[in-house]
């Protein structure tokens, strides 16, 4: 065995991941997260975070401007919808290419520095992109409102004429907003074309990142994080390694941006703001930087809080505490309402603090601890008869 992980464990992980993703609409429905928009967001931000993790998790270079690539990807995709066709394939390809080129330029410059200086350079580029997109570049970006498709767009490849309604994004005719609904145990399940498109790409993105993690290239990236000095004296040129990693993660971001547009054809400037860059950093750390699954989990938690916690209002809370006596129920509603609805960010802040304080290394650390504890208990059971002899 060369690594601490075995190819077999990886295969199991991959299969579990595929199953979990494809069954997402069923697994998440009981949590009120089984509707197309949120499912799509999980997949898309999962891709974004996986890509970010290739850069940050492996090399330790903390980019604080990755949202710029997400935004550029979105703009590219919407322009593809406006100029070429409502088909998502060219849009997504275009998004990845444009984001790749953009990240090549920014990466080339920013990677001249390391550590915090690198972070601030990437932040500065992203903020410039954001500010310009918001104002001066309005002809390209449509400013604050965001770039949308309109009835008057040329769309040279789409012969489909429209009957006054806005055209929808599609995959060779399969509309992205197509949803099949069924009922199960009193829940409505939504199987949405857009989600499955994103999900397949998420699986591909995950698989690629897994290969990268296990490859010599991935090992070199970890070496960059560990000791750059030793690396160059070992005959390795750090710059191209870093630039490749940066571009790969930039293209992941572009893909995510393209998918955001593919599932909901709008590209807003705030996608490029530092808060958006910060969000993917938080997702990755929250889940566990450098782990394969962690970033996807982190993305899920943040998006869940943003979309579901914020939707709880007093009416819904009152429903929860229905069974209690009135005075107690209303006290609980009052207390709980500080943490949901307009207080959802408070909850998110507390989650951040609690997780990072008690689980250094993020959520995956928690998963590992549970697994270890479980294994120990099992080993304890297995070996209870013969005297345990710990291996050296």
């Amino acid at each position: 065995m060369i690594e601490k992980t075995s190819p077999r464990a990886d295969r199991i992980l991959l299969l579990a991941f595929v199953a979990a993703v494809l069954l997402g609409p069923i697994l998440l429905a009981p949590f009120g997260a089984g509707y197309p928009d949120l499912l799509q967001k999980f997949a898309i931000f999962g891709i974004f975070a996986i890509g970010f993790n290739i850069l940050f998790g492996l090399t330790g270079y903390l980019s604080f401007g990755h949202a710029a690539f997400l935004g550029v990807g979105s703009y590219a995709a919407v322009w593809s919808f406006k100029l070429l066709s409502m088909n998502v394939v060219p849009a997504v390809i275009f998004a990845v290419i444009v984001a790749g080129l953009f990240s090549a330029v920014i990466g080339y410059i920013s990677l001249r520095r390391s550590g915090i200086y690198f972070s601030i350079l990437t932040l500065a580029f992203a903020q410039m992109s954001y500010n310009l997109a918001y104002s001066v570049l309005t002809p390209i970006t449509n400013g604050e409102t965001g770039l949308q498709i309109t009835l008057g767009d040329p769309r040279v490849l789409d012969s489909v004429s429209n009957d006054g309604g806005l055209p929808v994004t599609n995959l060779f005719g399969l509309a992205m907003n197509q949803t099949w609904e069924t009922a199960l145990l009193g829940m409505t399940l939504h199987f949405n074309a857009g989600f499955y498109f994103c999900a397949l790409l998420l699986i591909a993105a995950f698989y690629i990142s897994m290969r990268i993690f296990r490859s010599p290239f991935g090992m070199m990236l970890r070496a960059v994080k560990s000791n750059q000095n030793r690396m160059s004296y070992t005959g390795l040129n750090i710059r191209p390694y870093m630039l490749s990693a940066f571009m790969i993660s930039g293209m992941y971001a572009g893909l995510a941006g393209g998918l955001l547009a593919a599932t909901d054809p709008l590209a807003g400037a705030e996608r490029m703001q530092w808060t958006a860059s910060g969000e993917v950093v938080l997702m990755t750390i929250l889940g566990g930087a450098g782990t394969l699954i962690g970033p996807v989990l982190g993305a899920g938690i943040i998006k869940y809080a943003e979309n579901v916690f914020s939707s709880f209002n007093d009416q819904i809370l009152a429903g929860f505490f229905d069974f209690l006596p009135d005075s107690l129920a209303s006290a609980l509603v009052w207390a709980a309402s500080a943490f949901v609805g307009d207080g959802w960010q408070l909850t998110l802040g507390i989650i951040f603090m609690v997780i990072v304080t008690f689980l250094p290394g993020g959520l995956m650390e928690g998963v590992n601890r549970i697994r270890k504890w479980h294994e120990q208990r099992q080993r304890g059971n297995d070996l209870s008869s013969c005297s345990a002899k710990p291996a050296e």
Binding site: K4, R211, S215, P216, F217, R222, T234, L236
Partner: protein, 251 residues
């Protein structure tokens, strides 16, 4: 033929002349030791060979081409590997990964976008790495993180990383410092064996036992200048060296 030739190298740090007009020729296949008091400029000289420092004036030629202005990785790719005075390793990676990285660098050059085939498929590189590790008595820890090694073991790991590259010239800055006697002896025989394969070496060492067991030739550096260069037996008898460096130490 001289594989490395250093001519009139000067290096100043502020007002301090760390190297003053140093000339040095290292013959191919030789083990050339550089000794001298602390702060004489030995490490500084080595840094000038590997691109860590640029000399203020003078030239450094390796195998017929100038090393000046080359980046560290280019110098390594040209065939020079180095062991540092304080061990430089990949602390968060396992021992075998440390050595494999070195082996990949040798095989694939300074950069290769090798992101698809898993590491474990590279059985040849792995075999090479394990072999080198067991040469140095580290095979048993191959899956430990390098950062957890004791210091002597770190140095051996660094040596393994250099050896796996089969360099033309190996630079060793105090390779046995902090090593237990037994290991020092083992390292001496290992280095002798390597020297036997025709790898040229420059060794900086304060342990005279090591120096005199290995060196074919010795240069003595003091206050930035070479004060003597000769065969080991001659150096032992040289009064200037005695005074400046050995101070009558029993050898």
């Amino acid at each position: 033929m001289a594989i490395l030739s250093v001519r009139n190298v000067n290096k100043n740090f502020g007002g301090l002349a760390a190297l003053a007009d140093v000339n040095l020729k290292v013959e191919e296949g030789m083990v050339h030791a550089i000794i001298g008091p602390n702060g004489a400029g030995k490490s500084t000289l080595l840094n000038c060979f590997v691109g860590r420092l640029d000399p203020d004036t003078g030239s450094v030629d390796f195998d017929g081409t100038s090393l000046l202005g080359l980046k560290p990785h280019e110098i390594n790719q040209a065939g020079i590997s180095r062991v540092f005075q304080t061990p430089e390793i990949f602390g968060e990676l396992t021992l075998v990964e440390n050595v494999m990285i070195s082996a990949f660098a040798k095989r694939d050059g300074a950069f290769k976008l090798n992101g698809w085939r898993e590491v474990w498929r590279a059985q040849d590189i792995h075999g090479l790495a394990m072999e080198t590790l067991s040469d140095l008595g580290l095979a048993g820890f191959s899956l430990n993180n390098a950062g957890q090694l004791s210091r002597g073991d770190k140095r051996r790991l660094e040596l393994a990383m250099c050896l796996v590259q089969k360099p033309k010239l190996l630079l060793l800055d105090e390779p046995t410092a902090g090593m237990a006697r037994a290991d020092t002896n083992r390292t001496i025989s290992l280095l002798k064996e390597i020297a036997g394969r025709g790898i040229t070496m420059i060794v900086i060492e304060h342990d005279m036992h090591v120096v005199f067991s290995l060196a074919d030739r010795i240069s003595v550096l003091s206050q930035g200048t070479i004060i003597a260069e000769d065969l080991p037996e001659k150096i032992k008898g040289n009064p200037r060296v005695q005074e400046a460096y050995l101070g009558g130490a029993h050898l």
